[in-house]
Amino acid sequence: MRRIRTELPVEFSYNLPVVELTGNRRAYIEGSTGVLKYEKDVVRINTSSLVISLCGRGLRLKCISPTGVVVEGFISNVEFIE
């Protein structure tokens, strides 16, 4: 008999943010709750479960909505701080 999978995807079950990178030029973070640091070299985004830190140069917030942030620039490092 075939078993029906009842598990939810990881992002829903653990309430994790979704990070989408387009090369090293653009990062889309869904599930953000606020901006913690905004500088040319570092952008820190707060989410419900962790803090995402983006390092690079010429970083800028392209778009901010209550649940998502788009960061553009030359991203060299992505760090997850729990």
């Binding site: 606020g34 970083l59 901010i64």
Partner: protein, 392 residues
Amino acid sequence: MLLLFLRFIRGFVIVDVKGRFPERFINLLNRRRITYWDMLPRGEGYTARLFVRDYLRIRPLAKKAEVRLKLSERRGLPFIIRRYKIRRGIAVGAVLAVAVMAFLSQFIWEVNIDGIKRISQSSLNQALYECGLYPGVFKAAVDTDAVERRLMLELPEIRWVSVNALNNIAQIQIKEKAQPPKQKTASYPCNIKAERDGIVTKTVVYSGSKLIEKGSAVKKDQLLVSAVVENSEDKLSYVHSSADIFADIFLSKNIKLKKNQTALIPKENYSEKSNLSFLRLNLPFKLSSSATELYADNFYDLNLCINNVNLPVSEKLCRRFCFEKQSLCLKPKDAERILNKKLALYECFAQGRGRIKSRTVRTLEKNGEYIIKAVYTINKNIAVKQRIRVEQ
């Protein structure tokens, strides 16, 4: 682009945000759903753009986030209006400009004609004027269909015409009727005789009986080709003779020029009179008079043209050149030059379509006159048709 335009219309400010918690200020703005854009980090803080109305609402948020807002730039229409509020003339000028443009766009400024080959421009312009289409006419008064119909009646050479009044330009496209080929209708019996005395150099006979040969000397009115032809049954019939008879003819030409002449010498200065023409209105623009009996008027129509579009403003200029009579005694060199010019004109236009084989020119001075004597040997077609009456 639309977004930029809307932002410009609403007006926006560029603010520098600096202070203790600039990031918190971003979060507060998001929570209050305040629109901002182009947020760029600068030093310890950042700059952002906000609508004017939102800028007034964010003061308490700035206080909460312990940041200082510094207005660095104001942009958009509300600020421009405020800046020029005192200068009402600009607004009045702008309104007047729009009104003038709206008024002028009701008239035809230019009539463009396309596709004419044989019909003359002046006759077409005259016909269009009579049909009520000319620069300066009220656009609504032009019935293009009626103009097309009337133009077809006025000028029978037109096969098809289209009149379109687009913006301020009346565009007229014309197709002319095709010319019917020339029909050979000459069938009457005729002889060919000599136009002048000469020596025949070449004969080309298309129809008729040839009576001369190459090298024959012929006299004026001598019969060269006869219309009477004998057919194979030894019967006579009359035909329409056709031939090219080339002969060397001898011509002499004398042109005289008086030594003492009265010439009209143009004066150095000239007077100008001009009218400023605006649509159908003519206003005197420049006036100057010159009291003289001898003058020549030159007329110029100077149109104001911008970007290949003729504007309805033009200057109609009349330039008057004055002359005075002077008695001159021609020098031999000048006389020779004038006479040679006259001779060249004679050779070009007066002597006919012959080829000049030789020419002898002599200039002499006699009885107060300069005379140029030219003797030509010209090779030309001397065949002339002479109709004959045939009675049965």
